[in-house]
Amino acid sequence: MTETIDNLRAWDERISEAAKAYGLDCFPQEFEVCDHNEMIGYMAYSGMPSHYPHWSYGKAFERTKTMYDYGVSGLPYEMVINSNPALAYLMADNSFCLNVLTIAHVYGHNDFFKNNFTFESTRAEYTVARFKTHADRVRSYIEDPSIGALKVEALLDAAHALSLQCRRNLSIKKLSREEQKTLRFEASLPPKDPYRKIHRQPDHTPPDLRKVPLEPDEDLLLFIRDHNPYLEDWQQDLLTIVHDEAQYFIPQIETKIMNEGWASYWHYQIMKNLDLPEDLRLEFIVHHNQVLRPHPGGLNPYHVGFRIWQSIYETEEGPGPCEPAKPTAGKEALFRVREVDRDQSFVRRFLTKALARDLGLFEFTPRRGEYVVSEVADEDGWETIKDTLIQNVGTAAIPVLKIEDADHRGERALLIRHAFEGRELNLEHAEKCLMYAQRLWGREVVLETVLAGKATQLMYNDDGFSTKRQG
């Protein structure tokens, strides 16, 4: 094994040099060699060296292991976490060539983590330590005889269900309540009137500044933490932990296509320039094609991302490989986009008609239990497809829910509004999530949404779930 590691280290020297020559700007990189069982373990815990326990990770482990054992799916070639230094895992069971490819791929991700704007707020240098302290805190609550595993589990179950209902764009500052008050008050003032001496003063009714929340709040867990006075310290702390971890993963959800495409694009450029010996090169091409093969009926983010990045480069430079050590307009475009976009804007800005046609994109709609192709990428259809795709990438695939009122009907019920834009909620999930929300809030929770075209209130209180049509 040490022999292999020395060998890998030699290749890594060349790869990291090539990456640098291309202009990739990476965190220091660390690789850990592991076997497939450890790999599945890392996957179950999102790659984290330490993570708090919860049965859902055991479930993830079992599922991955079953799929792997039965050959339904292979393990991902790369697993890299957004931290500084970036931490990646190499499977000892993989072929040498695959590990070299993985190293090249990982540098792509590493550069992306460091430079894309969505990751700015994740504070990569503390990632590993943060997850470690989270784990320690959760374990301390489990070991506390007055709390115990079951109570912690019940709270984590509930918190996990709501955790992705948090702010998506972390580069927009969340205003404090004081700031919100000021803004609201100022907005209520009559416009400045240079002739106010001769005009009659308009009536000024001060806004209701007692309302909670003043502005609709997207951070469900944090809001409940701060406004349910019956929560104990450890419960508040668990909500904070779950929220923190969700926020950490939001950027990765936001940039799946970009990030995987970016890493694939660079592993391809780097590997092509490495002068691989014949046998390695053939194997590399096989693996590369495997990673980038289209998923029939679905969407392979590696493939779609790769093609879009390629087209961005080629729009500037014309077809041809990307040359290292030469600043070109194409490369400049690539690096700019990797910094300022996320999946939704990436698709919106760079998915062209030609690309949609080349990728053979189509839109499918469920009809009587089957998915039927409703649009193909022709002259009329491609823009519809693009719009649908934008709705399904990044956090757009998660419904937007905002807390409107913490004292709904004057009964301290929690009113949440679903920002409806045409897609209806999955009712089974909504019901269960409301149950969890009620468990955390301690009182009735009301969700306003649209079902079957009608405004509907979904309610969960001590008597269970109920729905009410409106209008």
């Binding site: 094994m1 590691i5 280290r9 890594d12 020297e13 990291s16 990189q29 660390e30 060699v33 326990p53 049965w55 990770y57 055991g58 479930k59 482990f61 079992e62 599922r63 230094p85 190293i103 589990e153 709501l162 799946k256 296509i257 093969r293 289209p294 029939p296 009926g297 969407l299 392979n300 779609v304 990728l359 053979g360 994109l361 189509f362 839109e363 499918f364 239990g369 089957e370 998915y371 039927v372 192709v373 409703s374 649009e375 193909v376 649908t388 709705q391 399904n392 990438v393 695939a397 998660i398 829910l401 897609r423 209806e424 909620l425 999955n426 009712l427 089974e428 999930h429 909504a430 999530c433």
Partner: protein, 401 residues
């Protein structure tokens, strides 16, 4: 600057062991919670133990706010042209999934059903029951099944039992003893080639041959018979039969786990009793009144005929809605007492679904007179009652032993 490489750790803790354990516990308890539904809903009574049953698992699914299945998605082509109107997959909720998750948020399909074989399921159910071994009279075990068992090797035997490996070993030993094979000779010993340029070879001889030896063992077999007696009069509707069926199923499975061979007898009765096969037993729709005693007499007749209590462990259970002709009840009680004296366990289940009218003549009250230790009555009102009643039924036997 190159990266840091950390070699594989020699031993690594199985970090997810605790979480896996907890997950399995949840799956298990979820299955146990649903057992009443499963046995009531599935038509599993006639199935073999290897059949796979889909068990819905509640409580271990992870929920998030998501969009419903009615939202459109985007896929990419895989070479061939896709036309409008083509079917590219099945929507979730339908059986079988032909499509990967939607673009972007590929959380993967959450499984909410698990496959267990029927026997696993039954094992799980009875595991928690914590029952002592049932009474099993010595006489009721009869010598039957002659099984053969391996026992060593012999130099004589029939051709099919020739053990090739041992035969070759024996031959090699003989070669060695003759100095044709061994540490000193191995290198000079020529390898036989296709051209046949082999050196001196020793053919197999009769002394080399080794045969597997088998002996016969006499196996003791315990027999049991389950007598399913059901009222098929006009008042027994489908719902009631359904409940009865579930109960019989449990009983059968339970007995089957404890005895080598189990036979089942189905006796359907209204005014008269007949022995029927399983399908007719549950499908049978009769009209008319009820003489419970007819079913018991038939059972007694069958026992006298085929299942001698000395040789057979007898389990009898009767399901009815309790609507018996008043004049028949004393006869029925007498017959029931007689059945108790023959059977290991005899039970009466009265099925009265909620909302059904209450009939004045409830057998359950009349049967209170029977004080045989192996007699037990249960009242089943809903399918949720089946499992608890069944446990009570067997629990009775446990208290007795």
């Amino acid at each position: 600057m190159g990266a840091v490489f950390r070699p594989k750790r020699e031993e690594s803790a199985d970090r997810s062991a605790g979480d896996r354990q907890r997950h399995r516990e949840k799956v298990r308890s979820s299955i146990l919670d649903n057992i009443a539904d499963i046995i009531a809903e599935e038509s599993i009574i006639g199935r073999s133990g290897d059949d796979i049953i889909k068990v819905p698992i509640r409580g271990i699914k992870e929920y998030r706010f998501t969009y419903g299945d009615n939202a459109p998605g985007v896929g990419e082509g895989a070479g061939e042209e896709v036309k409008k109107g083509d079917v590219v997959g099945k929507a979730p909720g339908q059986k079988g999934k032909g499509r990967a998750g939607q673009a972007g948020q590929e959380a993967g399909v959450d499984y909410y059903e698990t496959d267990v074989t029927l026997s696993e399921l039954i094992d799980m159910m009875f595991e928690d029951l914590d029952l002592p071994d049932l009474e099993r009279k010595d006489l009721r075990a009869i010598e039957s099944l002659r099984r053969t068992k391996r026992k060593g090797y012999r130099k004589v035997g029939i051709r099919v039992r020739l053990d090739k490996k041992r035969t070759v070993l024996a031959k090699m030993k003989r070669e060695r003893s003759k100095g044709m094979r061994g540490p000193g000779v191995r290198h000079t010993h020529p390898v036989p080639t296709a051209a046949g340029a082999a050196g001196p070879r020793l053919p197999f001889s009769q002394h080399d041959l080794r045969y597997k030896h088998r002996t016969m063992t006499v196996h003791e077999e315990s027999n049991a018979v389950v007598l399913c007696i059901m009222d098929t009069s006009g008042s027994m509707d489908t719902v009631k039969k359904y409940l009865a069926r579930s109960f019989f199923f449990l009983l059968y499975q339970f007995v089957r786990r404890r005895y080598e061979s189990v036979e089942v007898v189905f006796i359907a009765h209204d005014i008269e009793a007949t022995e029927v096969d399983e399908n007719r037993f549950f499908a049978k729709g009769e009209a008319g009144g009820t003489f419970v005693s007819s079913g018991y007499s038939k059972a007694l007749e069958i026992i006298a005929d085929r299942y001698h209590p000395e040789l057979w462990n007898i389990y009898a259970f009767h399901c009815s809605d309790g609507d018996n002709f008043g004049s028949d009840t004393p006869t029925a009680i007498k017959a029931a007492r007689e059945l108790c004296s023959l059977a290991n366990l005899f039970g009466y289940g009265e099925i009265k679904p909620r909302g059904a009218g209450f009939y004045g003549s409830s057998l359950i009250d009349a049967f209170k007179k029977i004080d045989a230790p192996n007699f037990q009555t249960v009242l089943i009102e809903r399918k949720e009652d089946i499992w608890p009643s069944f446990k009570a039924f067997l629990g009775h036997e446990r208290n007795r032993s």
